[in-house]
Structures are given as C-alpha cells and as structure tokens.
C-alpha cells in the first residue's frame, strides 16, 4: 500500500510516515498533500495551550478518551520544544497520555517545534491535514508550554482552549495581550487545589471585559488528574462549534485556513528559493560589500529579487 492510499484508508503506519515526510520537508510531501487535500476539511480541530505544567497533556489524554467513544476517531498532535542548540528534542507528552495510547480510535504524534517560536511547529498545520484526510473526527493540537505570545495555535484550530492552573500568576498577568485573547474556552485545571475559585473568578472578570463579542468564552474548573469535569470541557467545545456553524463563522474559518495553507507553502518556498539565490557564488562578492559597509542589505535584497524574477 502506498502512503497516500494508506492515509486515506486510515492506516496508522502510513499516517505516521506521511507526518514524517511533512516534518522533514521531504520532496514526497508535496505530492502526498496534493493527493489527500481533497479529502480534508472534515475534521474539527481543537487547539490547547497554556503555561508549562498546567496539565495540558493530562487534559488532552482525558479528553481523547471521552471523545473517542463509538466510532469517533481522535488524533492528537503534541508539540514539545526543540533545542535551539542541538536541534534535538525530548518529546515527553506521552508520559501523561498512556490511558489512551492503545485505544484503536486514538492516534498520538509527538512533534518538536524545529525552530518555530509560536508554540507549534511549521509542520503541525500539514500534519493535521494528514489526520483529517485519514478520517479523524477530532484533532487535538497541544502546544508547547506557552507563555503570553505563542498564539500560532489559534491559526490552525477552530476552537482554542486556554488551560490554566491556580497560583500561576496574578490578575495583571492574565490581562496581558496574546494568549488571553485567543481563548474560546478557558479551563482552570487542578481545581482540587487551593486558589482555583480565585483564578477562575479572575479569568472570568478579564474575559467579560470584552463583551461586545457574540461568543462569551466559558471558564471551567476541572481536574484532569482526578478525571473530573472533562465532559464539561467537551460540551463547551461542542457549543463553540455550533456557534461557529450557525453564525457562518466556521465556513469563514475554513476558508481562511485554506488561504493560510497556501500562504505558508508560498512563504516556505519563496524563502527557500531566495536563500538559494543568495547562495549563488556570483553574489558572495556583494555580500562581502555589505559586510564591509560598501553596500547595504536593502540594496542587495533588491539585486537578489531582480535576479530571481529574471529567472522565473
């Protein structure tokens, strides 16, 4: 079975190999995506983000177990940081995901960020297309432990869940721009611990500040460890999904996601081509001129573009 047919048939080994191709920028990835893209657009993609240690992996594991009931299939993309020094990574999200690791309806893939700083990796977008084509009903994207500005998950998911825990920062922290602005559902995890009510109240008061929005993000207290309140998180996601469907916003989101698929490939290809152009021996002299301040970066960039367009 070739990888494309395997993905479309939902074969685990083919799915795993396809995601590796996407991650490695393998030349076969483009042909593969061409072959499966018409079968995408059906899965519902949920992003989960939050600071390190708030319990994202445990929550994802509990959610996947509940979501994979009946014939429904759940795919999980769990992102952990890649070392900027060695390029290696320790992908440890699975340590907390063993409840569901052998469920036939759950597929989990650990991914390194590989240089991306937005909380997910560049390949996460296309990896979720692979899962989509393979017939997964739900795709859960778990970001690296994110602080305030890692908001890329918002671009690859229809519903974004921001996970918090008691004692992780005061109200002012919560008011800051970025991660607090992308939540469609807020989860205060570890609700069995002291301070959960206070944290939930603080989050609720911040979220209510922007009440011109049609969707009012709920703030839910759960304990992933004790497996309490998980169904309420899934209910809230379902409600947000219905809201998006009924308001026509899901169609808009799908359209803008397709546009970003294009933009992302365009950006990658263009930057690769232009870097290749800059590496031409003829331009090394020009680069030296910039280094010696006989020229400047803007002038050289114009030259690179001129050469590039002349060729194409």
């Amino acid at each position: 079975m070739d990888v494309r047919s395997g993905v479309l048939a939902g074969d685990t080994r083919s799915i795993a190999r396809a995601i590796s191709w996407v991650e490695n920028d393998d030349p076969r990835a483009a042909e593969l995506i061409r072959g499966i893209y018409p079968s995408t657009g059906r899965a519902y993609i949920v992003g989960l983000t939050g600071s390190p240690g708030v319990g994202k992996s445990t929550l994802v594991s509990r959610m996947a177990a509940l979501m994979a009931t009946g014939k429904r299939k759940v795919g999980v993309l769990a992102v952990d940081p890649t070392s900027p020094f060695s390029g290696g990574a320790i992908l440890g999200d699975r340590v907390r995901m063993f409840d569901v690791a052998l469920s036939p309806n759950v597929y989990i893939r650990s991914m390194g960020t590989r240089g991306s700083l937005g909380g997910i990796s560049r390949a996460t977008r296309m990896a979720s297309r692979v899962l989509d084509a393979a017939g997964f009903d739900w795709i859960l994207v778990e970001t690296v432990g994110a602080g305030q500005s890692e908001v890329d998950v918002h671009d690859v998911a229809y519903t974004t869940v921001v996970v918090m825990a008691p004692g992780m920062g005061d109200e002012i922290q919560a008011m800051k721009a970025g991660i607090m602005e992308i939540g469609d559902v807020f989860v205060v995890n570890k609700a069995d611990r002291d301070g959960a009510d206070r944290t939930a109240a603080q989050v609720a008061s911040i979220v209510q500040l922007s009440d011109e929005r049609e969707w009012h993000p709920p703030v839910l207290k759960v304990s992933a460890e004790l497996n309490q309140g998980i169904e309420r998180v899934i209910d809230a996601i379902e409600q947000h999904k219905s809201y998006l469907e009924q308001s026509g916003k899901l169609a808009e989101a799908k359209a803008s996601m397709a546009r970003r698929d294009v933009l992302e490939i365009l950006r990658a290809r263009l930057s690769e081509d232009l870097r290749h152009e800059l590496d031409q021996p003829a331009l090394q002299e020009k680069l030296d001129e910039v280094a010696n301040r006989q020229s400047d970066p803007y002038t050289l960039v114009d030259t690179v573009f001129e050469q590039y367009w002349r060729k194409t």
Binding site: R13, R17, S20, T82, G88, A89, I90, F98, Y107
Partner: protein
C-alpha cells in the same frame, strides 16, 4: 530539512529505575535526535504501538529488572508483526554478558551494559540507522 533521527526510549516491564533511560534520552537530544520518552512500566505492546504511531527509527530499551530475555525479544516480535522490522532495536541496563548472544539472536542489534560511554551509544545509533525514510 534533513531527516531527523527519532528514537523511542522505553522501559518495559515492572522496573521503576529510569535514571539511566533519562540520561540517555538527554544524550540523544544533545546529539540532535528527537527522543520520545514514555515513562516507566510499559508493556511490549504499548512500546511497539508507540513506535508505530511515532514513526521512530530506533527503539532503545532499558531494563534493570532481569526480565530482558523475555521483554526485549517480545518488542522485536511485535514490531515485525506491525511491519516495522526495519526499526533498529538496541537494549541496555544490567544485562549479564552470557545473555547478550541470546538477545542478539532475537533481533536486539546491540546491547549496552553499565559503564558504556554515552558517545558509544550515540555513535552506534548514528551509524546504524538504516531505515529507509
């Protein structure tokens, strides 16, 4: 981008001693590999299934309980059943010298005992990952 070596570091069986496995995971990371670590007390079935889902090139097994002659070959058999016979399987832990030929005959391609320098394991993996990407 080049093909990054993906290694599953796994501890099969009833054995809670994972300091060695963690040190190795760290060494593989520092060598530029992506390491999937799953925690302690996993079954051979769980390990083989994770290897399949994660599309790893290498499964590195660690066992300090004495059950390596049962557990390691079981992982190899399950990988072959799942069509992943090309994955490099190596083992480590407290393994008596006389068990090494048995393990090698059962698909464990190399065995690293106590005191093996980290660089030896890292270099072995680098030079022996043969799996077709």
């Amino acid at each position: 981008m080049e093909h990054k070596i993906r290694v599953l570091v796994a501890k099969p069986g009833l054995d809670g001693h994972d300091r060695g496995a963690k040190v190795l995971a760290r060494a593989f990371m520092e060598a530029g590999m992506e390491v999937i670590y799953t925690g302690i007390r996993r079954t051979p079935e769980q390990i083989a299934e994770v290897a399949r889902q994660e599309d790893v090139d290498v499964v590195a097994l660690s066992c300090l309980s004495g059950a390596h002659n049962t557990l390691f070959p079981k992982v190899v058999d399950l990988l072959r059943e799942k069509g992943m016979g090309d994955v490099l399987v190596v083992g480590g832990g407290v393994i008596p010298d006389e068990d090494v030929p048995f393990l090698k005959a059962h698909g464990i391609e190399e065995v690293f005992g106590p005191g093996t320098p980290l660089a030896t394991s890292v270099d072995y993996i680098r030079t022996h990952v043969s799996r077709e990407a």
